[in-house]
Amino acid sequence: EDLAVVGSWSSLPLNKQFETPFWTEELPAASNGEINVQMTTHDQMGIGGGDVFRILNDGVFDVGMTVADYAVGDAPELEGLDVPLVANTAEEAQAMVEAARPMVEDIFKERFNSKVLAIAPYPPQVVFCKGDVTSLEDLKGKKVRGSGRMTTKFLEALGANGVNVAFSEVPGALERGVIDCAVTGAGSGYSAGWWEVSDHLMTIPLGGWDPVVTAMNFDKWNSLSPEMQKLITDEVNSKFEAPAWAAAAGALEADIACLTGNGTCPAGDPASMTLVEASDADLAKAKEILTTVVLPEWAERAGADWVKRWNDTVGKTVGVAVPLS
């Protein structure tokens, strides 16, 4: 069985440590050579992250993976997979994703003619700030480089300005004061040297967890034998999804140690950013903004049916309910 697989960002650890080894080595080995994989990534192919599932839909390749947030242009209901600030640890995030999974499966079947194989996390998207920041409230009036539509909407509701800056331009923009804060994964921020130009690290997951969905074209999926389907499902669960989640929990701790200097940093010399942890007041404030502004707006985009379903599954798990008019 030949499989053409398109991975997420080639430069990020999820691709290097989990996607590529799993699809090019572990799965072919587990199938005793029955599965033969040809792998590339969407950035190497020169296609946008938002196009991956559109093209997967057409059967141009068999398996595609990209951040769910990139695809919300085609499926606004998918925004519900990654609501910022409702899951603050890897366990909570995993519980949220698991609760959302049946919904995501239906969305992918309906919108992209695709079978969801896995949902794995990028590291939580935390906040790097230049200048004194002690609470969520302090972001008011600041220029923040966000990620994802719901995060930007949240920032606007908070009274901050969402600014669009490319990842590679963030250090310069922070240094020159074009932006005050920027959101990204703690590990990416460490390796890209954002700590050189910022001093406060808010570990509150303002940008959510950026879950990456792995999906297979449904026509391809249906053409596989039941044994093959079972093999792929089992292998993906045990050798890709589970280790990726396990690593996410440990990685955040290590990355924070690297950025703040509290604890051991396996990646190199630690920086000395000031750690700003979320207080109960912050979380209460976040929940208030989500339920009064951000989620009701989303409900308009996604439609009542999906939101009701979200309330019954994800909402129950994280303790948030979207008011339905």
């Binding site: 190497q44 192919m45 559109r54 590679s168």
Partner: protein, 426 residues
């Protein structure tokens, strides 16, 4: 697959099918021959997402900027002023060619636009003053390539975009190598003309008062450079936005010089749309070809080729340089970058080379590709401006400058801080 594609590329180009169309045809061929998947179905999405790009809009902006400078009379005055300063050197006006190209490089992001701008104002002088057509036109073709090394630069924007590298850092890194190359171009010209004085035209000299008086004509370009580059480093504008700022300032300067009329604006816009569409057809074609090649496994083939050699990092670097020189003969430069960067750059950074430094090295190789036949856009631009004589004159004329570029590559490899010094201290 790499061999088949290269051979077909040459064949189709030789048939004088438009370059952009050739890239699409090759993409169709790769889809048919090398891929079991219906890649053609991805075509529409690739065309949409490659052209729906707020980064690439810098291209029409820089082209428009060049059009305004030529049609607003700014380019001509700059050339005359530099002529007064440089014509005493052995080689006379040829130095003005290089100097003007250098100054325009500092406001234009495109090498083709720079070469076209300088050729338009310089060529009429060559015959009048009896210059050797080879060296004279070669200097314009080569000098024009500085347009993508001295900031701003479309190619560096594309490199930064594809590799997630900071564009302001890349711009800083290109400045010293760009100026060094400009100086080296002039030195080579002076030496050649000293050895063989018939290469240069009638020697002329101007009085100091004439020279000082001409300085005011250099002012517009200096102002443009400061505004375009300054707005990036002051944090007012992104590199792409700075191109829009440049257009507005150029328009103001042209208006100040009374060079603006309705007809002038219309001709600028027509020219911009024509050149932009020509470039975009090639870029979109290159994106599609890259899409099919990557899907068909060229990345792995190229990677296996490079890693299979089992060379040391330095050995691999040499192979990569050689690869770009050879590919540069045949492939249009932006397509060359888009197709190879996502594969080559991760391999090189994995071996410990600096991403900014490699970007600058790559730009020198790309500059060379612009003036090496058979596919060297600047050669055609300059030949077009001459309206007579043989294309082979221009091709021979660029040889000394290609040698300078090779020396620059050696220097960058030996002393990486030539590129990295500025971005590291600023």
């Amino acid at each position: 697959m790499i061999f088949t594609v290269t051979a077909s590329l040459l064949g189709l180009l030789a048939l004088s099918i438009p370059v952009g169309i050739v890239l699409f045809l090759l993409g169709f061929g790769v889809d048919q021959l090398f891929s079991p998947f219906p890649l053609l179905r991805g075509l529409g999405q690739v065309v949409w997402s490659s052209s729906n790009s707020s980064t690439l809009i810098a291209i029409p902006f820089f082209v428009l900027l060049g059009e305004i400078l030529v049609r607003g009379g700014i380019a001509e005055r700059t050339y005359e002023a530099l002529d007064k300063w440089f014509s005493w050197l052995p080689g006379g006006l040829i130095h003005a060619n290089i100097g003007t190209a250098t100054m325009f490089s500092a406001t234009s992001g495109s090498s083709v636009a720079t070469a076209a701008t300088v050729a338009t104002v310089a060529m009429p002088q060559a015959e009048k003053l009896g210059y050797d057509p080879k060296l004279f036109s070669g200097a314009i073709a080569a000098g024009g390539t500085l347009g993508i090394m001295i900031p701003p630069s479309i190619n560096l924007i594309v490199y930064g975009f594809l590799t997630e590298t900071s564009i302001p850092r890349l711009f800083l890194a290109g400045l010293i190598p760009g100026l060094l190359m400009a100086v080296a171009f002039m030195m080579v010209t002076a030496i050649l003309c000293k050895i063989k004085p018939t290469l240069g035209g009638t020697s002329r000299s101007f009085t100091w008062s004439e020279r000082i008086g001409s300085l005011q004509h250099l002012l517009p370009i200096v102002v443009l450079f400061l505004v375009v580059i300054g707005s990036i480093y002051a944090g007012w504008a992104t590199p792409t936005e700075s191109a829009a700022v440049g257009v507005a300032i150029a328009m103001l300067i042209a208006a100040f010089n009374r060079g603006v009329s309705r007809e002038m604006i219309e001709r600028c816009l027509y020219g911009t749309v024509r050149i932009t569409a020509m470039i975009m057809l090639v870029i979109i074609g290159a994106y599609f070809l890259n899409f099919t090649l990557t899907a068909a496994g060229m990345g792995r083939e190229l990677k296996d080729l490079l890693t299979g050699l089992n060379f040391s990092p330095m050995g691999t670097l040499m192979v990569v340089i050689l690869l770009y020189i050879v590919l540069g003969f045949f492939i249009e430069t932006l397509s060359l970058m888009v197709a190879t960067i996502p594969i080559i750059v991760p391999i090189m950074t994995g071996m410990g080379f600096d991403k900014v430094w490699f970007g600058i090295l790559l730009i020198v190789l790309i500059e060379m590709a612009l003036i090496t036949p058979p596919v060297g856009l600047n050669l055609y631009v300059v030949q077009g401006a001459r309206k007579s004589g043989r294309l082979s004159d221009v091709m021979l004329g660029v040889i000394p400058f290609v040698l300078v570029m090779l020396a620059m590559i050696a220097l960058l490899v030996a002393v990486p801080s030539v590129a990295l010094f500025l971005p590291d201290i600023l």
